[in-house]
């Protein structure tokens, strides 16, 4: 079952009984169907659409303070400006809308706009609706706001202080969530340990920063009492339900339409939903359709980001490097509010907290704090980079403490292929993998002995060279049940249990035999349309270019469910199966019609090369005719068959269950694996980190399209490198944002990216019919810690703080080091 391959070739599982005449499309590096339009300026992104006549434009007034009470808000001068239609304030919002539901017991109140207090710099205070964006921005300057500044709470450890001013008075503390868990014999593990390794880890706040910002075009249709909203939102996910609840309307009166093209997200555009509610309300109050296109300054201060985390970790180990148990005390900072799906960052990796290692016992304390920073949410790798920063740094520190080569420690603890499916102590069930083969492949690609020798000779010359490694389990297809683990069992039991990762797809064949697929996966560049066409073409015996795939999602007309959308790398393991199953339903019907027409048995019909064919080759009829019969001549159909061809399939992985009574949860559907090796050199004069070599080996299960898979790996790597070396959403001690422009929030460019070597040791997943695992997030999870490990090795340092910008690294090298912020 296991296949090792270079990046050009792919292993393919047969989908149906092998038929030599049928072309295999799945697994081929098919060129993307998306590209011709995007390359010729004909993409259809949110701001390219004009769904409603006579639309108006919104601009949002934002708080210049991190923390303040609003003492005065006078919008009259703004309303008096010619071209201004309406100004919406917190008072309008609290009158029309309920706070968003929050998934923790203390329920800090969260509205899409500040009501009487601002809690982060950039928080919306009012919305102006005007004839155009220029006038709307003029009007913002005329709104008169009085602020009474309050003491800001900025850093995690400040928020843990009992005397920090609570952001949410009703909660009474900035620690808004505190839960402890224990799995396995933790006390025993620590009692039997020969050594303890203990450290504090700090992980920074950074962001997704897609090149296209948020965009919302909302129209409240009064007669129907319905909100129709177009937005580059990649739900609906659980968030559609939350928006309907906030707007206090039946959910079928909130129609969300996602455009065919989204200019990147990497998670962050899931957090456009409070703005969907805000702009929807603005449309209702102003009585006109309203367009809001976020600008870059708004995006950097007030969209969303990853969470920053502080972890106090302790490992119980044997002298040979065996890890017996872990103690993790983790504090996530979700910023000013707990915006759903937070606190998922803290819980996405919960079942997977022991990573790729056989660690039988783990105790966890999870806390969440509120600070006067931008609220957090999905960011490529979500929760993974934070978790692995702790775990993989810890493994490196264990090796250092014991005087062992880190590879030896990794090998000792890394799960073996015989152990799969592996039941991790906190609940994840790893489907498949050959982690050791992947590790060996990485060592081989990197020529590890040469790497070590190179490091030694460089060091002999006084150069600062280091090697870093990271082994990470990459979960994909989130279990909707994992987030409820934030609630204690008794509270959990009061609401209905949640589980699964359901996705849907619809396929229709029209009267002339043309095939159309409708997705609910809201892609943002991952090539879902291409892969869907490959899958459907293979099932129906067509060519991909004959299959039209629509990526627009419309909550009123698309088939979707609570997990639908694009996040947690769920396309390959989950959505692709829904697509295949829908195609199989269609194939079933086509074959049944053909068998009836041919007068042969169902099993003797196959779909090949655009036609139905009998096994003996005597009957061949085009798909157009077979499908046509279902439309033009229902009387010719087999008895009892419905006319038309329009099939929807829903799919979830049946193994995913709600959390059990012992707080164990299988947080994801399937689990890929990534092992990375890096060689870096630090310039002692400037502190610049130069990534000399980077090898990444992936297990992404069955590869559906190798070109797209490697594209995802490269993108994930670049994002991870940004987090490792460049990017931080930085605030000063007053909570004032210091990274408010793209000049101050430095995304790496082509000149900063090293070339990487990609390898594969793909082990198909037995848990999902296509065998595919997610792939887009792995390097976003691994690269920050792998670079950190390499730099720590180069400098001989125990403590490293990301991002490793030159001045920070240089300060670390100074004899009287002071921490650079």
């Amino acid at each position: 079952m296991e296949a090792s391959r270079a990046s050009e070739t792919a292993t393919v599982l047969p989908l149906t009984a092998p038929n030599p005449a049928r072309r295999t499309w799945v697994g081929a590096a098919t060129l993307r169907a998306e590209d011709p339009a995007l390359l010729t300026g004909e993409g259809r992104f949110i701001d390219d659409l004009s769904p409603f006549p006579s639309e108006h434009h919104a601009a949002i007034l934002r708080s210049p303070y991190a923390h303040a009470r609003i003492t005065r808000l006078d919008v009259k001068p703004a309303l008096a400006l010619e071209g201004v239609t309406a100004v919406i304030t917190g008072a309008d919002v609290s009158a029309a809308c309920k706070p968003f539901p929050v998934g923790i017991e203390t329920r800090p109140v969260f509205y899409p706009c500040a009501i009487d207090r601002v809690r982060y710099m950039g928080e919306p205070v009012a919305v102006v609706v005007a004839e155009d964006r220029y006038i709307a921005e003029d009007a913002l300057e005329l709104i008169d706001v009085g602020y009474d500044p309050l003491a800001p709470v900025v850093e995690i450890e400040d928020a843990l202080h009992a005397d920090s001013l609570p952001l949410h008075e009703a909660v009474g503390s900035n620690v808004v969530h505190d839960r402890s868990f224990a799995y396995g014999d933790v006390d025993g593990a620590f009692a039997n340990a020969e050594e303890f390794v203990e450290a504090k880890f700090v992980f920074p706040k950074y962001a997704s920063t897609p090149i296209e910002t948020y965009g919302v075009i909302a129209h409240y249709q009064r007669a129907a009492d319905t909100y129709v909203v177009h937005a580059n939102f990649h739900g609906p996910f659980i968030l559609h339900s939350l928006m309907a609840q906030a707007l206090q309307i039946p959910s079928n009166r909130l129609r969300i339409v996602v455009p065919p093209d989204i200019g990147g997200s990497y998670g962050i555009k899931s957090a456009v939903y409070p703005y969907i509610v805000l702009i929807a309300l603005a449309s209702k109050i102003a009585g006109v359709p309203v367009r809001w296109i976020e600008d870059r300054i708004e995006h950097l201060c007030a969209s969303s980001s990853s969470t920053d985390r502080v972890t106090w970790a302790r490992a119980a180990v044997l002298k040979d490097g065996t890890i017996l148990g872990l103690h993790l005390d983790q504090v996530d900072n979700t910023g000013a509010y707990v915006r759903a799906p937070e606190p998922a960052c803290l819980y996405r990796m919960h079942g997977t907290v022991t990573g790729a290692y056989r660690i039988p016992a783990v105790a966890i304390r999870n806390r969440l704090v509120s600070t006067n920073k931008l609220p957090t949410g999905l960011n490529r790798g979500y929760g993974g980079q934070e978790q692995y920063f702790t775990l993989e740094r810890l493994v490196a520190l264990v090796a250092k403490r014991l005087g062992l080569d880190v590879i030896e420690v990794v090998r000792r603890n890394l799960l073996r292929k015989e152990e799969f499916p592996y039941h991790a102590p906190a609940g994840s069930v790893y489907d498949s993998g050959d982690y050791h083969a992947a590790l060996e492949h990485a060592l081989e690609l990197a020529d590890y002995p040469a790497l070590m020798a190179g490091r030694e000779s460089a060091r002999a010359e006084g150069r600062l060279v280091g090697i870093g490694i990271g082994c990470i389990v990459e979960p994909s297809g989130s279990n909707m049940g994992y987030i409820s683990i934030a609630l204690p069992k008794d509270l959990r039991d009061r609401s209905l249990p949640k589980s699964g990762c359901t996705e849907a797809a619809t396929i229709a064949i029209d009267p002339l035999g043309a095939v159309t697929v409708r997705l609910s996966t809201t892609p943002q560049g991952q090539g879902h349309r291409t892969v869907a066409a490959q899958i459907v073409a293979q099932e129906l015996g067509l060519e991909p270019k004959q299959v039209e795939v629509l990526a627009e999602l419309d909550t009123q007309t698309s088939a979707w469910s609570i997990a639908s959308g694009s996040y947690s790398s769920r396309f390959a393991p989950v959505a692709a199966v829904a697509i295949r199953n829908a195609a199989r339903k269609v194939a079933y019907k086509l074959k049944a019609i053909a068998a009836h027409q041919f007068g042969v048995a169902f099993e003797d019909v196959d779909l090949v090369e655009g036609a139905a064919r009998s096994a003996d080759g005597t009957h061949v009829t085009s798909l157009k005719r077979i499908a046509g019969a279902a439309h033009w001549n229902p009387s010719s159909l087999p008895d009892g068959m419905e006319p038309g061809i329009y099939e929807t399939a829903y799919y979830s992985i049946g193994l995913l269950r709600p959390p059990d009574d012992d707080d164990r949860v299988d947080s994801s559907a399937v689990y890929g694996f990534v092992v990375d090796l890096a060689l870096v050199e630090v310039d002692s004069r400037t502190g610049r980190v130069d990534v000399k070599q980077y090898v990444t080996v992936h297990d992404s299960g069955t590869v559906l399209n190798p070109m797209i898979v490697d594209g995802q790996i490269r993108g994930g790597f670049a994002h991870g490198l940004g987090g490792a070396l460049f990017e931080e959403i930085a605030y000063d001690e007053n909570g004032t944002l210091r990274s408010g422009t793209l000049a101050d929030y430095p995304i790496p460019t082509a000149s900063e990216l090293p070339t990487i070597v990609i390898g594969h040791v793909d082990v198909p997943s037995p848990f999902t019919p296509l065998g595919a695992k997610g792939v887009g997030e792995g390097n976003a999870m691994s690269v920050p810690v792998v670079i950190a490990n390499a730099v720590a090795d180069a400098l001989g340092a125990n403590e490293v703080r990301l991002p490793l910008v030159p001045h920070r690294v240089w300060e670390m090298l100074q004899p009287n080091a002071v921490e650079a912020r």
Binding site: D295, R296, F726, P746, S751, E811, A820
Partner: protein, 295 residues
């Protein structure tokens, strides 16, 4: 991010432009390449009431050699210079500095004189002109033309000796001279970013190997380009072993700022390091130039 409203003038002669500035004073802003002014206007950090767009002034884009200098007209784009091998050859320090100024796409529009007038303390071109001891030609309708030595032109952060009725109509960069060597070194976070620290250096050697002039300027370490006082090292034969000392002397009296991109001591260390590299290269190229002379 849309600019606040402004009255727009597009004069077709310099006199018209000068008259507008005389009329509107502080309220008016000259719009040249727009690569610094327009971002500031889009963010509404700059909100001039009157824009005087100089992009259609005739003859203003001239780049020419005259009297041992390269004269760069007010509308010469940064990329225009890069496209003129003669110009780059005439002023090697400019040739080395230009690729560090933003990106090819911004240099296609941004002007050399606009960069000087903007006076960002981390910008490359102000540093280059100070080290070369060039001059800036300013003109007003009331007082006509005056030349301002580069050393006097830059006053503080985004602050120059220019009066609000004056336009920079050109800049003069002294051309390569016999026996001189030049080097530009910079350290920035990413390619194309403003420098964290930049160093420009020009060294003149006499045929006997004595350094007759050592000029070294630092960018990003003060509120304006900082010219290090290195006269003590003139009149001596300089060897590689002297360079660390000179580099230390060059940074001795700087008081660099601390910010997001580095502490004061980091900037000082970078400055020392870059200064040493620049001195090394400038000296080497001066030696080559002398050898060329000797042959």
């Amino acid at each position: 991010m849309k600019p606040a409203p402004f009255d727009y003038y597009c004069p077709r002669s310099l006199d018209e432009a000068l008259a507008l500035l005389a009329q509107y004073g502080d309220e008016a802003k000259v719009l040249a390449g727009g690569q610094s002014l327009v971002p500031a206007m889009n963010m509404r950090l700059a909100r001039p009431g009157v824009i005087v767009d100089v992009n259609r002034l005739p003859e203003a884009a001239v780049i020419e050699r005259c009297d041992g200098s390269l004269r760069v007209g007010m509308l010469a784009r940064q990329a225009d210079l890069e496209r003129m091998p003669v110009a780059l050859d005439a002023v090697p320090l400019l040739a080395q500095a230009l690729p560090h100024v933003g990106h090819w796409q911004t240099r296609n529009r941004g002007t050399v004189c606009g960069s000087l007038a903007h006076a960002d303390p981390s910008a490359e071109l102000p540093l280059a002109i100070v080290v070369l001891d060039g001059a800036i030609e300013a003109r007003s309708s009331a007082r006509g033309t005056r030349w301002i030595a580069a050393g006097q032109f830059f006053e503080s952060y985004f602050q120059t000796a220019l009066q609000n009725d004056e336009i920079v109509v050109g800049a003069s960069f002294p051309a390569r001279r016999e026996g001189w060597g030049y080097a530009f070194e910079e350290f920035a976070g990413r390619h194309g970013d403003f420098a964290i620290v930049a160093v420009a250096c020009a060294v003149a050697l006499e045929p006997n190997g004595v350094a007759s002039e050592v000029r070294l300027g630092l960018g990003g370490v003060a509120d304006k380009p900082h010219l290090a006082p290195l006269t003590a090292y003139c009149g001596r034969v300089l060897s590689q072993r002297d360079l660390p000392e000179i580099a230390n002397a060059a940074v001795a009296d700087i008081e660099p700022p601390s910010d997001l991109r580095g502490s004061a001591r980091y900037r000082r260390a970078l400055a020392t390091n870059l200064a040493q590299r620049a001195l090394t290269r400038a000296l080497a190229s001066a030696r080559t130039a002398c050898d060329g002379l000797a042959q």
